[in-house]
């Protein structure tokens, strides 16, 4: 990809050059910024804070579960802990994580644009996010909510004595930030690509962001409506979910999962996009099967809307509905498998190096593979009857959400950190933390598969003593995992002041974002680049050398 105009600028040290970080100073210059890169950093700080909140709740839960009778808190508090953990991690960390931070930073840079299509909407979406988060945190601090992140009726509507409405309102509000981000990305990707950046020259991260944005704008309104109805029901008892007056409590589950299953793909698709970037950069190769990887993202986005009923196999849903949702759930697994095979094949005859981002990427492939395959158990009707509602489900979705989405987020953060800050972090520490996270993660969640198959239901504050060994293993793993997450926090902060300058392209990676200085100037590119080649067009050995 050629951009001759910026090249002269590249070697000037970051300190003496004007960039988006030192272009203006003061709190106002951040809070009123419309620069997509600064907004990405606003999001980064906010979601890191929310991750810590959710993480502390998880740590307390795992400590509590060391003993069958509960080591720490009463059941009422435990229920509030797992509810806030789920709500914060899903709605306030995982959903915005990659799109709002890396996506905001990279979408314009990767397509050769100076900003997103609607910079003011972009800032507004951050304020909406903060407002929603404030509502939810306020409710969590002043009494908490005990419905779980799923808010099932009629418990949430008629029986819970906790702050359901403020929390649901927080989630409701935050949904609009997702919608605006999705809208912004779709318009940006359609209208603002640099000359020569055709659809099939787009980095796969952009395809993933595009697919995610479609789910954002089609799915999020449904959760908004659902939570709105829940609020009406709780306040005015209109009866829509109340069987005593002819309502249907299962209707809530249909509506909830109509959004929340696609939301799972909101969380994992961006991660898949990141992995495609990392694998190619660290094996210096074009992605294997570009169009298959790109279209599998779109296939996932479409099919994800048709599988919600697999959360309801044991609710008394009709056998025939169960069959349809089961076959569709198997179908949605295929594009994910195709991606895994293509990533693996990309490594073939590559020139592979093992800096920290690559370790995260490889960890992602392994853990996502296990998460995906264990999903087949839950799509299998007869087996799901046994496993539904047990720790097997908890283990499965943590392999996807933490082993998948969070690993990808960490990998992406490590990959683009030098671009974002202009500084390098200590790679040895980063590799060490990737390893600690991988080990800690497996120790935490693998025992939960066994626990679930043995029949231990999820969301239990106390449990029969025969499950103690597995629970202690899981809690031990969680403490390792926590250490693994704290280490990067330390060296990232350290690197902002003491890290050596990164230079424009420390990894020797392809992509427009690497052709501009680090940190980039406010306008991203001095001159809009003209794209003349495919994505990931690394120089290769001549054809004859193929074995």
């Amino acid at each position: 990809m050629s951009s001759t105009a910026t090249v002269d600028n590249l070697e000037i040290p970051a300190e003496s050059r004007l960039n988006y970080l030192n272009a203006s100073y003061g709190i106002k210059s951040w809070l009123l910024t419309t620069d997509h890169k600064r907004i990405a950093l606003l999001y980064l700080v906010s979601i890191t804070f929310m991750f810590l909140v959710g993480g502390v709740a998880a740590t307390l839960m795992r400590l509590h579960l060391i003993e069958p009778q509960g080591a720490l808190v009463d059941p009422e508090t435990y229920n509030r802990l797992f509810s806030i953990h789920g709500i914060v991690m899903v709605f306030f960390f995982l959903v915005p994580s990659i799109p709002a931070t890396l996506g905001n930073f990279l979408v314009p840079m990767m397509i050769g644009a100076r900003d997103v299509a609607f910079p003011k909407l972009n800032l507004m979406s951050w304020y909406i996010y903060i407002t929603g988060a404030a509502f939810t945190l306020y409710a969590a601090v002043t009494g908490g909510v005990d419905t779980g992140w799923t808010f099932y009726t009629p418990f949430s509507s008629n029986y819970s004595h906790s702050a359901v409405i403020p929390v649901a309102l927080g989630v409701f509000i935050t949904g609009f930030s997702s919608i605006l981000t999705g809208l912004n990305f779709i318009v940006t990707i359609h209208k603002m690509r640099a000359p020569g950046m055709t659809w099939f020259r787009l980095p796969l991260f952009i395809w993933a962001m595009y697919a995610t944005s479609i789910i954002f704008i089609l799915g999020t309104p449904v959760i908004a409506i659902t939570l709105f109805l829940l609020g009406l029901e709780r306040l005015l008892h209109i009866g829509i979910f109340d069987p005593a007056v002819g309502g249907d409590p299962l209707l809530f589950q249909h509506l909830f999962w109509f959004y929340s299953h696609p939301a799972v793909y909101i969380m994992i698709l961006p991660g898949m996009g990141v992995i495609s970037e990392l694998i190619t950069a660290f094996s210096r190769k074009r992605i294997f099967g570009y169009s298959f990887v790109a279209f599998s993202s779109m296939a996932i986005a479409v099919i994800s809307f048709l599988v919600w009923g697999h959360h309801m196999f044991v609710t008394g849903q009709s056998v025939y509905a169960g069959l349809v949702f089961s076959v569709l759930s198997f179908l949605v697994a295929i594009p994910s498998a195709v991606k895994v095979f293509n990533w693996t094949a990309t490594l073939y005859k590559g020139s592979i190096s093992y800096q920290a981002p690559m370790l995260y990427a490889l960890g992602f492939i392994g853990l996502f593979t296990m998460g995906g395959l264990t999903g087949l158990f839950l799509a299998s009707l007869a087996v799901d009857v046994h496993l539904n509602g047990t720790y097997f489900v908890v283990a499965h979705f943590h392999y996807i959400m933490v082993g998948g989405a969070v690993m990808a987020y960490m990998g992406g953060l490590h990959f683009w950190w030098p671009k974002i800050t202009g500084r390098l972090y200590p790679d040895a520490w980063a590799r060490f933390s990737a390893l600690v996270i991988f080990v800690g993660f497996n120790l935490t969640f693998f025992p939960q598969f066994v626990m679930g198959y043995l029949g231990m239901p999820r969301r239990y504050a106390v449990y029969p003593p025969e499950f103690q060994v597995l629970n202690v293993m899981s809690s031990a793993g969680a403490s390792v995992l926590a250490v693994g997450y704290v280490i990067p926090l330390v060296y990232f902060i350290w690197s902002m002041r003491y890290g050596p300058p990164a230079g424009p392209n420390p990894w020797g990676a392809k992509g427009l974002e690497w052709e501009t200085p680090s940190p980039p100037p406010t306008e991203n590119f001095e001159e809009i680049p003209i794209v003349t080649e495919e994505a990931y067009n690394y120089p290769q050995l001549p054809e004859v050398a193929r074995g």
Binding site: F155, P243, S351, T369
Partner: protein
């Protein structure tokens, strides 16, 4: 390849039997069928995990960067490969889907001759009632080798009745009946749980299933603190609410005769044809106008809120017993 799979299966089978603590007891007629599929899925998972991890590790070592200026080689597209790894997983998924669905459909149909036991979930206990009138809390006594159908509902929020050893689970929903069935095959004591989060003491909503020899079960039933059978209790309610004013047994009343009604298909005013089962009777008592028969006037009042869940089950038990042999001989 097949040899490798076979070795894997054998090794896993050995691990399976050597560590009984890795799997729950299999104490019902369907448990082994479910376990076989679970075993197959585990095998598939191990195979593909090993394949992916193995390939990645091999490539990691084989193609590690040896010189900074090294170039990569290799193709970046290969249609036959893409088709291979799309079609093979699809075929495997088809096999699993058919296998799992076959089991599911079979497991969801109770045998004709099953005995009924009624379960009412409420925050935070399980109330269980046998047709003979014996009541228990958080305990369920059943005879071995006998198909048992659990008909359940909830008095408040959604609960879920889950017996891991039998591999069965079903939500207990407010305002309607759901059911599951099992045939216990091993005498013993097994956990049952609430598997749908239902509030503060969700995790204390657990109990024990006692699977007994038929003679022990009969003795237990006889020794229970029962007052009268559910149908007898239902008959009293039938009288108390003066149901017989309209529901005359010879069919000449203002409402349909209930004798021999249960289990028969009936054509509703909406044109829909439905078999008269517990759910239909429940609906007919709670919201009568929603299930009208064509040739009767809409004059029945709703009994929702007047009759509690237990009484509703008793009334239904009584209606079920109408027209059965024992009722006829007792002159009702």
């Amino acid at each position: 390849m097949t040899g490798l799979l076979q070795t894997g299966a054998t090794a896993m089978g050995a691990v399976w039997t050597a560590f009984p603590e890795l799997h729950p007891p299999a104490a019902s007629s369907i448990a082994q069928g479910v376990d076989k599929l679970y075993f197959f899925l585990t095998l598939i998972t191990l195979f593909f995990t090993a394949l992916i991890f193995g390939t990645i590790f091999y490539f990691m070592i084989r193609y590690r960067r040896r010189k900074e200026d090294e170039l990569a080689g290799g193709p970046h597209e290969h249609l036959p490969l893409e088709l291979t790894w799309t079609i093979i997983p699809t075929l495997i998924c088809v096999v699993i889907f058919i296998w799992a669905s076959f089991l599911y459909v079979r497991n969801s149909r109770p045998p004709k001759a099953s005995m009924d036991i009624f379960v009412i979930g409420k925050q935070w206990m399980w109330h269980i009632e046998h047709p003979e009138g014996v009541r228990e809390i958080n305990e369920l006594h059943v005879p071995v080798n006998t198909p048992v159908r659990i008909i359940m509902t909830s008095q408040d929020v959604i609960h879920d009745f889950y017996i891991p050893a039998f591999r069965v689970k079903k939500d207990a929903l407010p305002g309607r009946y759901t059911s599951l069935w099992f045939e216990a095959t091993e005498v013993g004591t097994y956990h049952f749980y609430c598997a749908q989060y239902c509030g503060t003491d969700h995790s204390k909503m657990i109990g024990w299933v006692y699977v007994m020899n038929p003679t022990d079960y009969a003795a237990w039933l006889a020794g229970g603190s029962k007052t009268e059978s559910m149908a007898d209790a239902g008959e009293k309610l039938f009288t108390r609410y003066a149901c017989a004013t309209c529901h005359l047994s010879d069919g000449s009343g203002r409402g349909p005769s209930l004798v021999g009604l249960f289990g028969k298909p009936e054509k509703l005013l909406t044109g829909e044809s439905r078999v008269v089962d517990e759910s239909l009777l429940r609906q007919a008592i709670s919201v009568p106008n929603s299930v009208r028969l064509s040739n009767f006037p809409p004059i029945m009042p709703s009994y929702q809120g007047q009759i509690n869940e237990e009484q509703l089950l008793q009334l239904i038990s009584y209606i079920k017993s109408l027209g059965s042999e024992e009722r006829k001989t007792s002159g009702k």
